[in-house]
């Protein structure tokens, strides 16, 4: 997720949490509603503070409309395009990653594996993070894993331009 999106989500979630917490405290009786009313009345009295509050609430309102759209576009996720004369063909990176994880776990010595894929004009890069068994030979295991993943992408998914398969051993069990 891009940094500005993270920031917008952070602001949205914090604002929602503060507003709901404030509402909850007022309803429960821990916070007097007249204090809130008095504070809002005080804030409204000068033009400058009123404008600032207007800007803040306007921004939050805009954010409440923008965030669901952000989720909608994200739902489609990133995809890898395959060549085909009969129409556009896209395969979601999430689907490929999940399947790589499944076949990766079938390699002897792999305890757990996470896969991520990046696609560019030059080719497809695969990033694997794995937990492996300590008694297994790690170089052999990585070599086998890379071969299995590359064969799968070439022969099953039909992605020919696999550029790199980077493996990071995160844990030896």
């Amino acid at each position: 997720m891009r940094l500005y999106r993270k920031a917008l989500w952070g602001v949205g979630v914090c604002a929602l949490a503060l507003l709901s917490l404030g509402g909850f405290l007022v309803v429960v009786g821990l916070f007097d509603r007249f204090v809130v009313h008095g504070w809002l009345t005080f804030v409204e009295q000068t033009v400058l503070t009123r404008s600032i509050i207007l800007l803040i609430f306007g921004f939050l309102f805009g954010l409440s409309i923008y965030l669901p759209f952000l989720t909608r576009t994200k739902a489609g996720g990133s995809v890898i395009g395959l060549k085909n004369p009969l129409g556009a063909v896209e395969i979601s990176q999430k689907a490929i990653s999940e399947f790589i994880q499944r076949i990766g776990k079938g390699v002897e010595g792999v305890e757990d594996i996470k896969a991520a894929i990046k696609s560019s004009d030059e080719g497809v890069d695969v990033y694997l993070t794995l937990s492996a068994q300590a008694q297994g030979e790690v170089p052999r295991l990585i070599d086998e894993l890379q071969t299995v993943v590359k064969t799968y992408l070439n022969k099953t998914v039909g992605i020919e331009n696999v550029r790199e398969i980077k493996v990071r051993v995160a844990k030896l069990i």
């Binding site: 009969l86 063909v89 395969i91 979601s92 399947f99 039909g158």
Partner: protein
């Protein structure tokens, strides 16, 4: 000589034919569904129908072959049954399901 007949086909009929054609392809697990929509879109273009499908496929098959077979089956089914030209069949693979 008979005059060319004009007729309209309900969208549900087109969708039914697409589902039937997709169901005949061995490597397809199902058409992707979400809470509010099904993964089939049909648009009428000047060149013919533009069909877009979101699919879940079965593990094991060669993906480009499954995709091509689906595109051909869908085009054939629509063109043969309705006599409507299919301009393109776009496919989005949303998931790979194990065969079990």
């Amino acid at each position: 000589m008979t005059e060319a007949q004009e007729y309209e086909v309900d969208k549900k009929v087109t969708l039914g034919l697409i589902k039937k054609a997709v169901g005949q392809v061995e490597g397809i697990h199902s058409i992707k569904r979400s809470l509010f929509k099904e993964g089939i879109k049909v648009k009428k273009l000047e060149e013919g129908l533009a069909i877009s499908l979101e699919l879940l496929i079965r593990q094991g098959g060669f993906v480009p072959q499954i995709v091509e077979e689906t595109q051909k089956k869908v085009s054939e089914e629509i063109e043969k049954t309705l006599g409507t030209k299919v301009a393109k069949v776009d496919i989005k693979i949303r998931g790979i399901k194990s065969s079990s």
